[in-house]
């Protein structure tokens, strides 16, 4: 135990003797990890939005104009009779226009000038939860699509799938940017430790003559690197928290997504970031020592 205390004290001594270099290095690591954690934050929240919209079990069936009341009745019966339909509501062209006007609020007056109502009548279906998976919804949609008088069938999956493509892109981008930032962090730490090693070359030589083993000499530097990465990651998380409360949490999501809450990084991702900082510090130091401490 006293050995570990000695190594930690030696590492803190190293840091205090090269405080400015260590601060600059930790700050740079913090900025790099902040960018990376920003990507994580976007990704986590987009996935949240997708998940929320996928749980929305409403299907909208847009109807062709000019359907006879008899055809409409038949269509309603057929749609209501489909396996998976929990409830059904008919929205006429007039009701659709009225709903749009109320959604637009003060700007509803813009619709006054329309010569004819462009909105289609629709049937709004709610599905039973057991029919909420992607394949079941596709089957229901195909059946609805084939019914007489149906123009189009829209389900939340449609745009959720488009959003998923975007999320895949964000994930790929964060992998690429993350990889580059990881390399940058390793490089920064390796160079900081290199400066410390160079500054203490004579001291290390003396320690070797006194019989210090390589591990005795290396451990304080490794701890120094790990501390740099660890505190850099903590600073990045603190910065992200400020960014989250100042900007992200203030964002108002559009209608339909009001139930989705924009969240901060989940604990496991926060821990991952801190652990990644420490591991990067360790790796950077290892590379640096391999190159600059001769046996």
């Amino acid at each position: 135990m006293h050995r570990l205390v000695y190594f930690i004290r030696a590492a803190l001594n190293n840091i205090s003797q090269n405080l400015l270099v260590n601060l600059v290095s930790t700050g740079t690591i913090a900025i790099a990890l902040l960018i990376l954690s920003g990507f994580f934050l976007v990704q986590v929240n987009l996935q949240n939005v997708i998940r929320a919209s996928a749980q929305d079990l409403a299907v909208t069936v847009y109807l062709k104009d000019g359907l006879s009341p008899a055809a409409l009745d038949r269509l309603k019966k057929e749609a209501a009779g489909l396996a998976g339909t929990a409830s059904l509501r008919y929205v006429s062209k007039e009701e659709a226009l009225a709903e749009l006007k109320s959604r637009l609020g003060d700007q509803g007056a813009l619709l006054e000038g329309l010569e004819e109502n462009p909105l289609p009548a629709s049937l709004e279906l709610t599905l039973n939860p057991e029919f909420g998976d992607k394949e079941a919804v596709k089957k229901i949609r195909n059946k609805l699509q084939r019914l007489e008088g149906v123009d189009d069938v829209v389900y939340a999956w449609d745009w959720a799938e488009k959003l998923a493509v975007f999320v895949d892109f964000v994930r790929l981008a964060s992998l690429v940017v993350g990889g580059l930032l990881f390399l940058a962090v390793v490089f920064i730490i390796a160079n900081t430790i290199r400066l410390t090693v160079l500054a203490r070359r004579e001291e290390l030589y003396i320690m070797r003559l006194m019989g210090a083993s390589e591990s005795f000499i290396r451990l304080p530097f490794l701890i120094e690197g790990v501390l740099q990465g660890f505190f850099g990651a903590l600073a990045a998380l603190a910065g992200l928290l400020v960014f989250y409360y100042a900007l992200v949490a203030q964002i108002e999501l559009p209608f339909g997504l009001a139930q989705v809450k924009l969240i901060f990084l989940p604990p496991f991702l926060s821990w991952f970031l801190v652990a990644a900082g420490a591991v990067l510090g360790f790796l950077g130091t290892l590379i640096s020592l391999g190159r600059f401490i001769e046996t």
């Binding site: 006293h2 000695y6 003797q17 001291e203 320690m207 003559l209 006194m210 019989g211 210090a212 046996t295």
Partner: protein
């Protein structure tokens, strides 16, 4: 304790620093290594410390063959040896206490034991109360005493002193030699390299003379 057989050391593109040197230093002996600058005294000490490897011949230290010694075992060899240099080689950013304690910290001794032993050793070399000073705040003689305290604190089997009196006047030089003799009386084998003729003239210890890399007596 130390045996050398036909030891040769040649640096790349240079003349032989040592050529066919053989010697034996028994356990508990005090030996002077004498000769002018460039005679090979420092090279010989560096070979015993395994800072350099021999080009030819064999060196045995406490039964260990240095020629075949793997690098990972060098620290253990060096922990058996206390080493003193002409330029002291103290760490300027560490206090006297921290410089002397280094050897015990390397061995993994507990802080309480280190504190007690460092104070005891500093008292023995006449530096009581100077433990919080930094090397640059000390005189040359005091710095050399710190270096001796650091060399002796681990109770080494061997003390290697490379021109330990080189920067000191005769009075201080003799006090350093007397300190080394005291360490020798406590059981350590001492090899002291010097070209100081006044010290050599006064000593009754065996002297090994080197000249241009060869043993001349």
């Amino acid at each position: 304790m130390i045996k050398m057989f036909d030891v040769t050391k040649v640096y790349p593109n240079g003349p032989a620093a040592l050529a066919g040197v053989s010697l034996e230093v028994s356990k508990g002996q005090f030996v002077f290594l004498a000769g002018p600058s460039g005679a090979g005294k420092t090279t010989l000490i560096r070979l015993i410390l395994c800072e350099e490897r021999v080009t030819g011949g064999q060196i045995l230290v406490d039964g260990m063959n240095l020629r075949r010694m793997p690098a990972r075992r060098i620290p253990a060899l060096r922990r058996k040896i206390g080493v003193i240099f002409q330029d002291f080689k103290l760490i300027p950013t560490r206090t006297v206490f921290q410089n002397v304690a280094l050897r015990l910290e390397i061995e993994g001794a507990k802080p309480g034991y280190i504190a007690k032993k460092v104070r005891y050793i500093l008292k023995r070399v006449g530096l009581e109360g100077r433990d919080q000073a930094y090397p640059l705040q000390l005189s040359g003689g005091e710095q050399q005493r710190v270096a001796i305290a650091r060399a002796m604190i681990g109770d080494p089997l061997i003390i290697l002193a490379d021109e330990p009196t080189g920067n000191l006047d005769l009075g201080l030089a003799m006090s350093i030699i007397r300190l080394l003799e005291e360490i020798n009386r406590n059981g350590a084998t001492v090899i002291t390299a010097t070209h100081n003729q006044e010290i050599l003239a006064e000593t009754r210890h065996p002297i090994i003379y080197l000249d241009r890399g060869r043993r001349v007596s």
